[in-house]
């Protein structure tokens, strides 16, 4: 434990290690074919890293347990669904509305915006949504915040799943469980339009760039006036308020910032999947992201990155490719058991979390603060915090 802390305090571990990791990540696609299953998994891992880092701002830093983070994925993806598909056929006449899109997309009806605009739109929508979720929780603490955010996530999910029955001026809110599809391929200024059927590399690099920006934002905020205020709030709300930290503003900033990050990732995820799939807007998704944060270490930026990568690969590699195939599958069949591990994926995540809480409650790579609290100063409070 102390060896790890020593390692992290060395300058080469602080700069050289992350820089090497970034270069390796950037070069990785050159070692794989343009269309590749592993690259697909890596893109998903990057998306989940961004989402988990966004949630970490809310839960890890500010200590506001948010169980409805899926709402930001839903909003982010819906922004793309609305403004980068033929969902609003008829708007702008037969020609549709087009801003900064390729000549091919310009022929299509509906609203079509450049992906950069969609990202900005998703950020704004989700920052507002975050503040709206935050409002009813301002007077609440701990578990009660969790209940309100949980309900909010459910409300958003249900609206999207039944959105085909809800119309505004004749336009459906969403396509319900049919999902809004197809969406425009990602189109960025100065770059050729992406094509997920031919080449995954541009998607990978774009998402990597987004993750780097999100990481940067996380690191900068952690060691800032705002970051300290969030942690103060997490530690002792009464004392924080008495020291001049405005509770409402500080909490809403946490929700809005975390939400905006989730919105960016959600917009990219939607565009990458080429559909706004309302079937994914469920409670389980929020828990999946939260599990990444807890597994990695609440409040620990690098821990959360590791947690997100680990769970993505458990979900997309370990379960379908290792457990449900080959030797494990044969062994399972030889016992006369007939089930697929994919069907009990959440059970497996739950088991991983239970193991984690028993063996290493501070997470894989814990935040320096929480680590000390849990290992050197065991008390009633720390036990409670590990649970939250």
């Amino acid at each position: 434990m102390s060896a790890l802390r020593q390692l992290r305090s060395r300058p080469w571990a602080k700069y050289v290690l992350p820089a090497t990791a970034v270069v390796a990540a950037a070069l990785f696609p050159f070692f794989r074919p343009p269309l590749d299953g592993l690259m697909d998994d890596c893109i998903l891992a990057l998306i989940f890293i961004a989402m988990a880092l966004g949630l970490n701002l809310i839960v890890g830093f500010a200590g506001l347990l948010d169980l409805g983070y899926v709402a930001f994925y839903a909003f982010g993806a819906t922004v793309v669904g609305w403004w980068a598909s033929d969902h609003f056929t008829g708007v702008g006449g037969d020609k549709g509305v087009h801003v900064g899109v390729s000549s091919f997309v310009e022929q299509l009806p509906g609203i079509h915006l450049n992906f950069l605009l969609l990202i900005i739109g998703a950020m704004i929508v989700c920052a507002i949504a975050g503040a709206v979720i935050g409002l009813p929780t301002l007077r609440l603490r701990g578990d009660y915040i969790a209940i309100v955010t949980l309900a909010f996530g459910e409300i958003v999910g249900r609206f999207m799943q039944n959105g085909d029955e809800i119309t505004i001026h004749g336009y459906k809110l969403s396509n319900g469980r049919e999902s809004i599809s197809p969406l425009d391929q990602i189109d960025l200024p100065f770059l050729k339009q992406f094509d997920s059927a031919l080449n995954l590399r541009p998607f990978y690099w774009t998402m990597l760039a987004i993750v780097l920006v999100v990481l940067f934002v996380n690191l900068r905020l952690r060691d800032s006036r705002l970051g300290r205020a969030w942690i103060a709030l997490r530690e002792d709300e009464v004392a924080a308020a008495s020291m001049g930290v405005p509770l409402v503003k500080t909490k809403l900033t946490a929700y809005a910032t975390g939400g905006a990050v989730g919105g960016i990732a959600g917009a990219f995820y939607g565009a990458y999947l080429n559909s706004v799939n309302a079937n994914q807007f469920v409670f389980g998704f929020s828990i999946f992201i939260l599990a990444m944060v807890i597994l990695g270490g609440l409040g620990s930026i690098w821990g959360v990155v590791i947690g997100a990568v680990a769970l993505t690969f458990v979900n997309n590699r370990l379960i379908p490719d290792v457990l449900d195939q080959g030797a494990v599958n044969d062994f399972k069949n030889s016992l006369g058991l007939s089930f697929s591990f994919g069907e009990v994926a959440f059970g497996i995540f739950g088991f991983v979390l239970v193991l984690m809480m028993v063996l290493r409650p501070q997470g894989i790579l814990p935040e320096r603060r929480r680590q000390i609290e849990l290992t050197e100063n065991p008390g009633e409070e720390s036990v409670f915090e590990a649970r939250a």
Partner: protein, 273 residues
């Protein structure tokens, strides 16, 4: 002895004009329970004033109203010429009121230095985007705040080797020091100390008493304290307000309070009853 206190400081007359802090018949009821009832006090600038009273007299509740943690049920509070009744705690702090808590409430996973830096929150300007971009202005502010926080910790007498120690692993006395430093970091005009000597031995209490005098002299602070240690109370305060069952039963200089029949009864019970 109290005589020292009286010769050392000019006697301060309580009156609401010219007072830094004054309350006008402030009350607080929790449901049917009246914790504080109609308390009026006036605290002159650069004075040291104590609030005493038996347990459950409503002293901390009164403090919590002064700092905005509780909304008074009735009455008005004015500070530095402004009506602050029911204002938010952070606003009252930014106007110049800082406090410590009866049971130390440091941010346990933050270092001593970071705790004090949080105290400067209301004096800082860095916003969300400034913090992300770390503009030259934000960078400078951050550096200045860090240096000032270190100075403040030095001022309260924390060993500089402990500045980066998690506050929860500090000794009790050091935690008290950090808490006072954190309160001082917001450059207050009025410092509220809630039982600052709780858990201290007589030598430490005496040192704290001296320190309060120093704070007033060097930092132009007005100090309002809740205290049980009568030696400290009588030694340091120019004016004392006594609460019992949520009501003000006496006020005056140390000598008056010492001889006040109602105060003696409140503490010791009625004689010959």
């Amino acid at each position: 002895m109290s005589v020292d206190a009286e010769t050392r400081a000019e006697p301060v007359q309580p009156s609401s004009d010219g007072a830094l802090l004054s309350t006008d018949r402030v009350s607080k009821a929790f449901g049917g329970l009246v914790a504080v009832s109609g308390i009026s006090i006036a605290v002159a600038p650069r004075s040291i004033v104590s609030i005493i009273g038996p347990n459950g007299a409503g002293k901390t509740t009164f403090f919590n109203m002064l700092t905005g943690l509780y909304q008074p049920t009735a009455g008005r509070i004015s500070f530095d010429g402004k009506d602050v009744t029911g204002r938010r705690p952070d606003i009252i702090t930014s106007l110049g009121v800082a406090r410590t808590f009866q049971n130390i409430r440091l941010f346990s996973t933050m270092s001593a230095l970071e705790n004090v830096m949080v105290g400067e929150h209301s004096r800082m300007r860095a916003g969300l985007f400034g913090s992300i971009l770390r503009t030259p202005g934000v960078r400078r502010e951050e550096r200045e705040v860090r240096e000032r926080a270190a100075d403040t910790l030095e001022y309260v007498g924390l060993n500089s080797s402990l500045f980066d120690t998690m506050s929860s692993t500090l000794s009790y006395g050091d935690q008290r020091r950090v808490e006072i430093a954190r309160a001082l970091a917001s450059t207050p005009k009025l410092l509220l100390l809630d039982e600052p000597t709780a858990g201290m031995n007589p030598q430490e209490s005496a040192r704290l008493t001296e320190f309060m005098e120093r704070l007033r002299g060097e930092r132009d602070l007005t100090i309002l304290l809740i205290e049980h240690d009568m030696k400290v109370v009588m030694g340091v305060s120019e004016h004392i307000t006594v609460l019992d069952h949520g009501e003000k039963i006496a006020e005056g200089g140390p000598q008056e309070i010492r001889n006040n029949q109602r105060v003696i009864e409140a503490y010791l019970g009625k004689q010959g009853g």
